[in-house]
């Protein structure tokens, strides 16, 4: 177990190192830098001013120096200063994380609490009209562009209630807080709920064919007992994996949803930072996301061990 953990940890570090290189290089390949953007906003380019600014920000230095400067800072928790706001990058990033985390958490909750039960229902009623209906709904969840859905929701709510769920940074009541996040979370969560449902369904179908299900029936167990006590507990594993992976993919959905619903979370902030070529923000934020993803994957593997007594990491 210990050896396994050490190995996993090492691989995680290797992956993170790779990500840091990839994101660092990608950003430098993207033409233009913050100075170009600042001058674009100012409507002129002055080569001398530009060179000065680049020197001031340190983006005139050799790549290896820049990389070392960044990564050593990141490891120490020193994220540098945002090129745009000139505030500490950490201070820019941190307050936005809980917003996105809440949104993502709610979306995942939505996805799990709707996707798993519907997936089970669909599987145990395989081939019935109910199954078909649920499958069509779930597939449509995977087919609707989330920004389109968000836009329609917004428009409909203004048209019908004269109100719209726009982000409220300081909700007064619990209800307000819920309203702030629920609708956008539903818009993102619809897709992952659909995905969760599909995975649950196929996982359930797979499990329902297993010998031990027959054993359970041979004991005289009822359908409900077979489906929930025996099958679901086994079928949940792949679902956990998918929810874990989906957590990473959720970022994509969050970007457009945060844009449509104007939620000042990290996802939209990341896109803006890419647009501004704000290296300290983009690099550190992407690394943070990568750390979350890598840790999430690791957690999923550990959860496997909890849910599946067969798995003991000894490798």
């Amino acid at each position: 177990m210990f050896a396994y953990l050490v190995r996993r940890l090492f691989l995680m570090l290797v992956t993170l190192f790779g990500i840091s290189i990839v994101i660092f290089l990608l950003l430098r390949i993207v033409p233009g830098n913050i100075v170009d953007i600042l001058f674009a906003a100012a409507g002129y380019v002055d080569p001398a001013d530009k060179a000065n600014l680049e020197k001031e920000l340190g983006i005139d230095q050799p790549l290896i120096v820049q990389y070392w400067h960044w990564i050593s800072g990141f490891v120490r928790g020193d994220f540098g200063y945002s090129y745009v706001s000139e505030k500490p990058a950490l201070q820019e990033i941190l307050p936005r994380i809980p917003i996105t985390a809440r949104l993502a958490g709610l979306a995942l909750l939505f996805s799990a609490s709707i996707g798993i039960p519907l997936g089970v229902i669909s599987a145990v009623n395989q081939g019935t009209r109910l199954d078909y209906t649920l499958r069509v709904i779930s597939l449509s969840g995977l087919s609707l562009p989330s920004f389109w859905l968000g836009l329609l929701i917004l428009t409909a709510s203004v048209a019908m209630f004269g109100q719209m769920p726009i982000f409220n940074p300081n909700p007064q009541t619990w209800l307000e807080a819920f309203a702030t996040y629920a609708v956008p979370a539903a818009a993102v969560g619809f897709r992952s709920a659909a995905l969760t449902m599909r995975i649950t369904r196929s996982s359930m179908l797979e499990v329902l064919r297993q010998d031990y299900i027959r054993t359970a029936r041979a004991k005289g167990a009822s359908d409900a007992a077979v489906n929930y006590r025996h099958a679901l507990k086994n079928a949940i594993l792949p679902v956990i994996t998918v929810i874990g992976i989906e957590a990473a993919f959720l970022i994509g959905g969050l970007i457009v949803t945060e844009t449509v619903f104007n939620i000042p979370g990290v996802a939209r902030f990341l896109v803006e930072a890419i647009r501004w070529r704000d290296y300290p923000i983009v690099q550190n934020l992407v690394m943070l996301i990568a750390v979350v993803v890598v840790v999430a994957n690791f957690t999923v593997d550990m959860l496997y061990a909890v849910f599946d007594p067969r798995i003991r990491y000894t490798d």
Binding site: G32, D36, F39, L53, S82, V158, M164, P169, N262
Partner: protein, 532 residues
């Protein structure tokens, strides 16, 4: 010394009358004005910015020496009002402009405002001070200024190389606030300190900008508002939905396109909406240094093929203006009259005749129905740029030119233009003040940084100087028209149209005036109030 103290006093009086006239009823004190902001400005420093994304939220933090009357829509030399300067006067040779400064004004951090601050600000703008602006887009405005001198704590003079009446216009722009000496340019970017009606509270990038009432504002009883809060919403449809749903008291100024105005009117019939020219021209930058547009015939043909009315019809449902470099009348002060405008090739009313002529020019250059000219039209990846470019490409089809849109990201746009790595570019030029000096020198003088096309015509340059020194407006106007016409005929930077845009606010918002010939100067908001 020709005194204008009297004039200044009269002007000060008219500020009072104008404001009382425009504000129906007794202004109510209090309330926070909630607006949305169209994007996240790079920083809070107006002197370093070149977009009204900075001006709108932060103009209220500052004062100028002089300012255009905030309640007269058309900025003109007649609407200049004193602000931090109590009065101003020109020397007899018109080469020295002296301001008497207001006393007892305090910066938001409590330090007193003096003439040193004025000198600091303009030395900073002229690049003469120890500290440097990270960017200084309007350095050229002060190219005729020799130096700034102070005389005691409350008098300051601008010493000019030659007479330049337009200097006052530039000093009155929202782009020309007075900065405090004791705050570094870097700090001004993150936490601006001014003397204005509103104090800066916070600016969260991509999220919000908050200002609060300055209780020690030197204009007693102002501002009426307790504060202004901007929520940054880059997505226009979301922003408009939120305004319609009553989440905001006011839209971002001049952010509502004409087609969307109908939408707001139908959804929020009580809202007040005003449509005014923004003094932003949409134009074509032509790379005349390389093929194919080094050929004047092809340049002319392109200019003649433009169906300006179609642009205006499609993008503005007819509500935009066609003119030359200067914003056309009646809102524009310096624009050519219609009859003069129509004598310029391509501006004539007979489109078919123009296009026939354009085709002939193209054939002369060796192109025709069987031999089309392939052209790339570069533009920025912003709807305001992209949409006219799409129309342009469609129109060029009529004269054997096959255009392809080349969408360029903001970061790459200016480097690309500077490299001359384009054939045609669709460009927007915003004029911060409706003034020929600002427009001509900035965009057309040899070596100017914003003269993207590097158009350089020494003869015209001389004419620039002539009109610039003319103090009599009536005499200056024909000079300006002549220059404008010449610029269009040279196809220096063909102007397609001058945009208009709408601003809407809820009926209880009072005291807002949208400027009709500039979208950079009207956001002091000290006497805006909420009637609720």
């Amino acid at each position: 010394m020709r005194s204008v103290w009297a004039l200044a006093a009269m002007a000060a009086l008219s500020v009072l009358t104008a404001s009382t006239a425009t504000l129906a009823g007794e202004p109510k004190q209090g309330g926070v004005l909630r607006m949305y902001h169209r994007d996240s400005p790079a920083n809070a420093s107006i002197l370093e910015g070149a977009t009204y994304s900075v001006n709108v939220p932060f103009m209220g933090v500052f004062n100028n020496l002089v300012i255009y009357d905030q309640h007269i829509a058309q900025n003109s030399p007649d609407t200049l009002r004193p602000e931090l300067a109590e009065s101003w006067s020109w020397s007899g040779d018109n080469r020295k402009l002296t301001f008497k400064l207001r006393q007892g004004v305090k910066w938001h951090d409590g330090k007193p405002f003096t003439s040193a601050d004025v000198k600091c600000s303009f030395d900073l703008l002229m690049g003469k001070s120890q500290q440097k602006l990270r960017q200084n887009p309007r350095k050229a405005w002060y190219s005729e200024v020799n130096e700034i001198t102070t005389n005691g704590d409350f008098e300051v003079s601008f010493d000019l190389k030659r007479p330049q009446p337009s200097l006052l216009a530039m000093l009155a722009s929202g782009y020309t606030p007075v900065y405090p000496c004791h705050v570094s340019p870097a700090d001004m970017r993150t936490h601006p300190i001014g003397t204005g009606p509103f104090k800066f509270v916070e600016f969260k990038a991509n999220e919000s900008i908050k200002l609060t009432r300055n209780p020690d504002y030197w204009k007693k009883g102002l501002p009426h508002l307790d504060g202004i809060e901007y929520t940054i919403i880059p997505n226009r449809s979301t922003a408009i939905l939120a305004f319609v749903a009553g989440k905001f008291d006011m839209t971002f100024p001049t952010h509502i396109t004409i087609p969307l105005l109908k939408d707001i009117k139908s959804q929020a019939p009580n809202a007040t909406c005003v449509v005014e020219p923004t003094n932003v021209s949409t134009n074509i930058i032509v790379n005349s240094s390389s093929a194919p547009f080094d050929n004047i015939d092809i340049r002319r043909a392109m200019a003649m093929a433009l169906d300006r009315k179609a642009f205006v019809d499609i993008l503005f449902e007819g509500q935009a203006d066609i003119g030359g470099t200067m914003l056309p009348p009646p809102q524009g002060i310096w624009g050519m009259p219609k009859d003069k405008l129509e004598t310029i090739p391509g501006y004539g009313p007979n489109l078919n005749a123009n296009r026939e002529e354009a085709k002939k020019l193209m054939q002369k250059a060796g192109y025709g129905p069987d031999k089309h000219l392939a052209v790339k039209v570069s533009t920025r990846n912003i709807a305001e740029y992209r949409d006219p470019a799409v129309i342009l490409i469609d129109q060029l089809k009529s004269i054997y030119i096959d255009g392809e849109l080349d969408v360029v990201e903001t970061a790459n746009w200016f480097p690309k233009v500077a490299r001359k790595d384009y054939m045609l570019g669709l460009n927007l030029t915003g004029n911060s003040v409706d003034d020929p000096d600002q427009s001509f020198y900035e965009n057309y003088s040899c070596g100017s940084e914003r003269n993207y096309t590097n158009y350089c015509n020494k003869e015209i340059e001389k004419l620039f100087d002539v009109q610039s020194q003319e103090t009599d407006i009536a005499k200056r106007k024909p000079l300006v028209w002549e220059i404008d016409k010449k610029l269009q005929e040279d196809v220096a930077r063909p102007i397609i149209f001058h945009a208009r845009a709408g601003t809407c606010w809820q009926p209880y918002v009072k005291g807002v005036t949208i400027m009709s010939n500039s979208s950079y100067n009207g956001f002091r908001y000290e006497d805006v109030w909420l009637d609720k």
